[in-house]
């Protein structure tokens, strides 16, 4: 029972901070809301009793990604300099319309679909051993591709962002 109440509190909070990300007036507020939202989703993984993925979420998202974003915000001096320019475009009302349509569709799908499996049961705890085993037994190829992908992203970030003599 308490789990459920707790879940609902978290869910509402996540929706609120996620809305904060896209509605906040200054960029830096958005960034802070994003950190909260990511952390909240991490908490959701804990509700699902899959600690491993929650850990990944906190480490990579909460750590690396947000730091990157904050760094970029500083480098582009947005929000901090507090330039009084609107951060929301003229297209916003139409965007809201489309997003609302999408939201209605996705919620409708989630609710109306007869998902396979016994829905009465709780989420099953997945052990970290199982995940590791599956990942390296069945998904070795994507793992290797990820290595190449990260290398590419790394090279790309360097190529595009590095200062050169001519700069």
């Amino acid at each position: 029972m308490t789990t459920e109440v707790l879940w609902w509190i978290f869910a509402v909070a996540i929706v609120a901070v996620s809305a904060g990300v896209v509605f906040a007036r200054t960029v830096i507020h958005s960034a802070i809301f994003l950190i909260l939202s990511l952390a909240g989703v991490g908490a959701m993984y804990l509700f699902l009793t899959i600690e491993f993925i929650a850990l990944v979420q906190f480490l990579i998202y909460g750590g690396a990604v947000t730091v990157l974003i904050l760094l970029a915000l500083m480098l582009t001096r947005m929000g901090i300099a507090g330039r009084p320019e609107p951060t929301t475009g003229v297209q916003a009302p139409f965007g809201a319309l489309v997003a609302a349509g999408l939201m209605a569709t996705l919620i409708g799908v989630a609710v109306s679909t007869a998902w396979p499996g016994d829905l009465g049961q709780n989420a099953v705890a997945v052990s970290i051993e199982n995940i590791g085993e599956q990942m390296f037994q069945n998904f070795g190829a994507p793992f290797m591709i990820t290595a190449a992908l990260l290398l590419v992203a790394f090279i790309g970030a360097i190529v595009i962002a590095r200062q050169e003599d001519e700069d």
């Binding site: 996540i14 990300v21 582009t76 939201m103 990942m135």
Partner: protein
């Protein structure tokens, strides 16, 4: 007990908020943050499905790990491009980077 649909609805809401962010916000970094929201919703979906329907193979969880990795790499690369945009044009607003049109 929390049924699976709850997670899916939550994920749908986050995803749509992210879509709204991409459509409405002008700052490139904000657009990226909105994309992160969307990817986050996707991960949540995967993990929820995996936990409820497919706990043995845990494919969804593995998928989520990869999505997070790709998201991180994407942010790194995109931010480099945004910083370069800022150096070239002194703006990080996507709607001002519109030299090419029609």
């Amino acid at each position: 007990m929390v049924p699976m649909e709850n997670y899916l609805v939550l994920s749908g809401i986050i995803f749509s908020l992210g879509v709204y962010g991409v459509l409405a916000r002008r700052n490139a970094v904000l657009v990226l943050m909105s994309v992160e929201l969307m990817l986050n919703a996707v991960s949540l979906n995967f993990v929820a499905f995996s936990a409820y329907l497919d706990p043995d193979k845990a494919t969804g969880i593995i998928f989520a790990v990869f999505v997070i990795a790709v998201a991180a790499a994407e942010v790194g690369l995109a931010l480099a491009i945004v910083i370069r945009l800022f150096r070239n044009r002194s703006t990080a607003n996507v709607d001002e980077a519109a030299t090419m049109r029609w």
